[in-house]
């Protein structure tokens, strides 16, 4: 630990370092790509530690209270039973999809639907070790020198999911991944995912999160890598609702090749006490398109922290980002969006917008949209606003006989509509609208 000021001292750090030593003999049995990634990652994590607010990217989110909760590292577990009700809670009404259940990051075939589509391979990361697509892409895209939690996860993850959609495979029905975290004592989990979409493949993946902990706090450091190869298309949905016992640091690293499309729709709701999302998209090919839509409705003492990076590396790409937040009660919202346009990435169009509605008297919003542009023939813009209910709009509605509360709900729905209307699956859209309704109560 070189620089104490940028790190938080915690027993969890010491546990992580010790755990690596203890398990290093087991790592030798893994795929060499995984072992090499772990070795590199632990080196970075030793340097980085858990970030304090002195680290620019963690300026607004203080992890000290989280790390004080004496989390223990997850251990290898037998097959745990999970209440049906917990899984059912995450399911989306009327949606025809494959349900994939993961418990503490572990893929549970016994609780999941079988995905009988030719060209789709789905397994735990351990079982995927020999697959060429896994070996080619695992651990390749995250800059571990910069991301503290991704480094810890890469070094120490135990369980994970691997999905490969082979060349020209179009998966008609969406996959719905339901992540369940269960524990009896304060526990720190580090699940991992790798999705690889082959050339011209197409898939929609929905992810939801649930906890079953009998009141014990859990801290989940989730890392997902996504590779979208040429011409491939992916629609990706995060539905982040959960209870206040969970704290999430969630890293998604997307790597896109030429002519590909990646759309991310993220909605988070009151409950989970911390959501820290890192969503990084690298547009590393021509004619790539990416859309990032986010909606965060925060309440109570919740902290919702969204960090995104859109990295334009090649010419003729388009990216569009829209994050909208509604902050109730004493909640805190953080938005940091970075757009990089590299020197060669001429003819880039990149847009980014962050709008916040502050409702709670003590709610706090910190927004930092950021552009770094090294090419001249580009169109880039960003915008950020913070405001409240428009009194004129409220008056208009009230004068037409709509009660105060209903009028406010209506205006929030209208505010969120810019994001929700973008959701291409109607069942998911109405599910999210219902969650907004519920979150406003």
């Amino acid at each position: 630990m070189e620089n104490r000021i940028t790190q938080i001292n915690s027993s969890l750090y010491d546990q992580c370092i010790a755990d690596y030593e203890v398990r290093s003999s087991l790592f030798a049995a893994e795929a060499p790509e995984v072992g090499a990634a772990r070795a590199k990652a632990i080196g970075h994590f030793k340097q980085l530690g858990f970030p304090s607010t002195k680290v620019e990217d963690w300026k607004y989110t203080n992890l000290v209270p989280v790390l004080k909760e004496n989390f223990e590292l997850e251990q290898d577990e037998d097959i745990l039973s999970v209440k049906d009700a917990v899984i059912a809670k995450s399911k989306i009404d009327l949606l025809d999809c494959y349900h994939i259940v993961l418990v503490n990051g572990k893929y549970r075939a016994d609780l999941s639907d079988a995905v009988n589509v030719e060209g789709v391979y789905l397994s735990s990361i351990t079982d995927a070790a020999a697959r060429p697509a896994f070996k080619q892409h695992f651990g390749r895209y995250i800059d571990l020198e910069k991301f503290h939690f991704a480094a810890a996860n890469t070094a120490l993850f135990r369980n994970g999911l691997f999905i490969e959609v082979k060349r020209n495979t179009v998966v008609e029905k969406p996959l719905h991944l339901i992540h369940i975290t269960t524990a009896d004592a304060p526990t720190y989990f580090q699940p991992r995912q790798l999705f690889v979409l082959g050339t011209s493949a197409s898939i929609s993946i929905i992810e939801s999160y649930g906890t079953d902990t009998n009141g014990a706090p859990v801290f989940i450091n989730h890392v997902a890598e996504i590779v979208v190869q040429e011409n491939a298309q992916m629609q990706h949905f995060y539905i982040q609702a959960g209870d206040q016992h969970a704290r999430y640091v969630h890293h998604t690293e997307v790597y896109q090749q030429a002519n590909s499309l990646y759309n991310n729709y993220k909605a988070s709701f009151p409950g989970t006490s911390l959501w820290r999302n890192n969503l990084n998209v690298a547009l590393d090919g021509e004619n790539v398109e990416s859309h990032l839509y986010g909606l965060y409705l925060a309440g109570g003492q919740q902290i919702v922290d969204n960090h995104t990076i859109v990295d334009h590396r090649k010419p003729h790409c388009n990216s569009n980002e829209l994050y909208k937040g509604v902050m109730k009660d004493d909640s805190a919202g953080v938005f940091n969006g970075k757009i990089f346009v590299r020197k060669d990435a001429q003819k880039t169009n990149a847009f980014q917008q962050n709008n916040n509605m502050i409702l709670g008297k003590k709610a706090v919003v910190d927004s930092k949209p950021q552009l770094e542009i090294f090419a001249d023939d580009v169109k880039c813009s960003h915008g950020s606003t913070m405001g409240q209910f428009n009194p004129d709009a409220l008056f208009y509605l009230k004068s037409r006989g709509i009660g105060e509360e209903k009028a406010r709900a209506l205006l929030i729905h209208a505010f969120a509509y810019d994001v929700t209307e973008k959701i291409p699956i109607p069942e998911v859209q109405s599910h999210i609208n219902a969650l907004i309704e519920q979150g406003l109560k």
Partner: protein
């Protein structure tokens, strides 16, 4: 009050400060930075004890500070021990006539339309022009004095108005603020002091441009402007013609204070030597500028046109403490060749109903790197705070960069904050349109850039605006086609 004769004497000794004559050589502080240097400066300036103590305190703090690392450029290596802190080293000897001046520089003057005497002065030719200007200074001084306005060098203020200086010095930019502010507090050589008494509307634009002793005031100047209740002042600073200089650190501090209903308008046109085409030489312009709207209904407005310096690194800020106070920031920053600008503003909303407006226009050409970094902070007590920020970047050429780092922090649910930023290049159709009408590409670009920067240039007093416009055009020369 100083008589004309005193001023003449003042000015002539000031001249010597940078001189080459032997009898003044002892006025140079030995190179290096230590407590002795500070005592030397303080003694030379005949300062009271409290000021020496203040300097020493700042220096002791400075020693404990580290260089910042968060900036968006590589920090140049600076040897602070290699500088003489009392008389800035100027390698170039004074020239005897305009014939000896670099013709390129003369051509620039020509385009700027600077009168001959001023040209000589700015190029460092030792001429009588100095005395002309002194008379200008004195006429103005008389008129200002009548109204009770104090406008003098910092050194003079320390001697003649120690109470005012003591009351306000370092209250807006404390020496603990940042490493350059600490350095400045320790070694500042001179600067300007302005005090506008209650109810006075300063009848003319105050400008360092006329103040000869400010022309070559060392790299560490300090400006303190206090506008008492119901007063108004517009202050201009800057060098509107190129200065040929070594790679020098310029770490000034500017503090503005407005009391009830007062307003300060502070304009800068900065065109220090930017270094040559390969980025050799040029000024490091690391300046701390901050104003505080202390009283209710007060207003501070910063306008800056930054076309010079190898590195420009400053964030003129406003602390909006009084209720209903207003802060404004208008900026045009142009970087070309290897120039770097990391500039922007900070608006701290503390009082109720405070408003701020930020308009920043960045232009990057050649290998220039231009960053806007801004903070808009709304405190929990700042009910109904309102901010509007617009920062646009224009890119000319594919080797340059434009960056935006806005920080927007709100702790109040009644705040309305808007930020927008765009980045684009000059439209080919716009240039084509002008080409079609017989305007060559270079002129067309200048025209478009001027149009782009208009919103900011309009904020400048008229004479300055005209010069700034020409400056932009000149700075862009050679960066197109």
């Amino acid at each position: 009050m100083s008589t004309d004769l005193d001023i003449l004497k003042d000015v002539s000794t000031e001249e010597y400060k940078y001189g080459f004559t032997t009898n003044i050589e002892m006025d140079f502080a030995p190179k290096g930075l230590n407590e002795d240097t500070i005592r030397f400066i303080s003694a030379k300036k005949n300062e009271p004890d409290w000021l020496l103590e203040w300097r020493l305190k700042a220096f002791r703090h400075f020693e404990k500070m580290e260089w910042p690392t968060w900036q968006n450029f590589e920090m140049p290596k600076m040897d602070l021990q290699g500088i003489s802190y009392y008389a800035a080293p100027r390698k170039k000897a004074k020239l005897n006539s305009l014939d000896e001046v670099d013709p390129e520089l003369l051509a620039t003057f020509e385009k700027l339309g600077i009168p001959l005497t001023e040209q000589k002065m700015l190029a460092g030719v030792a001429v009588d022009a100095v005395f002309d200007s002194v008379s200008v200074v004195t006429t103005f001084k008389g008129k200002l004095k009548e109204m009770g306005v104090i406008f003098c060098s910092f050194g003079e203020a320390v001697q003649e108005y120690p109470d005012l200086v003591k009351k306000y010095l370092g209250t807006v930019v404390p020496h603990t603020d940042n490493i350059f502010a600490a350095l400045n507090a320790a070694v500042f050589s001179d600067g300007s002091f302005v005090y506008i008494p209650k109810g006075v509307r300063c009848p003319m634009e105050l400008s360092t441009y006329f103040r000869i002793n400010a022309e070559n005031t060392g790299q560490f100047e300090r400006t303190l402007i206090v506008a008492d209740d119901d007063s108004y002042v517009s202050y201009l600073e800057g060098c509107t013609a190129p200065m040929r200089d070594e790679n020098q650190l310029h770490a000034a501090v500017v503090e503005l204070i407005t009391l009830e209903n007062a307003e300060i308008k502070y304009s800068t046109v900065q065109n220090w030597y930017p270094g040559d085409k390969d980025g050799v030489g040029g000024i490091y312009n690391f300046v701390t500028k901050r104003g505080i709207c202390k009283g209710v209904n007060s207003k501070i407005s910063w306008t800056q046109v930054e076309t010079g310096s190898a590195i420009t690194w400053k964030y003129p800020s406003v602390i909006l403490r009084g209720d209903n106070s207003t802060g404004e920031f208008y900026s045009v920053a142009l970087t070309k060749n290897k120039q770097i600008a990391d500039t922007g503003t900070k608006m701290y909303h503390i009082g109720k109903n405070t408003r701020s407006r930020i308009i920043s226009k960045g232009i990057s050409a050649g290998h220039g790197q231009n960053s806007y970094r801004g903070l808009v902070q709304v405190g929990s007590g700042a009910d109904n705070a309102r901010n509007f920020t617009q920062c646009d970047s224009l890119l000319i050429g594919d080797e340059c960069g434009a960056h935006t780092f806005p920080y927007i922090e709100s702790k109040n649910s009644s705040a309305m904050v808007e930020h927008e930023a765009t980045t684009s290049k000059i439209g080919e159709d716009q240039i084509f349109y002008l080409n079609q009408r017989g305007i060559d590409t270079e002129k067309a670009v200048a025209l478009i850039v001027n149009g782009y920067a208009k919103e900011v240039l309009n904020q400048l007093p008229m004479e300055f605006a005209v010069e700034a416009q020409k400056l932009l055009a000149i700075s862009l020369e050679g960066s197109v086609g």
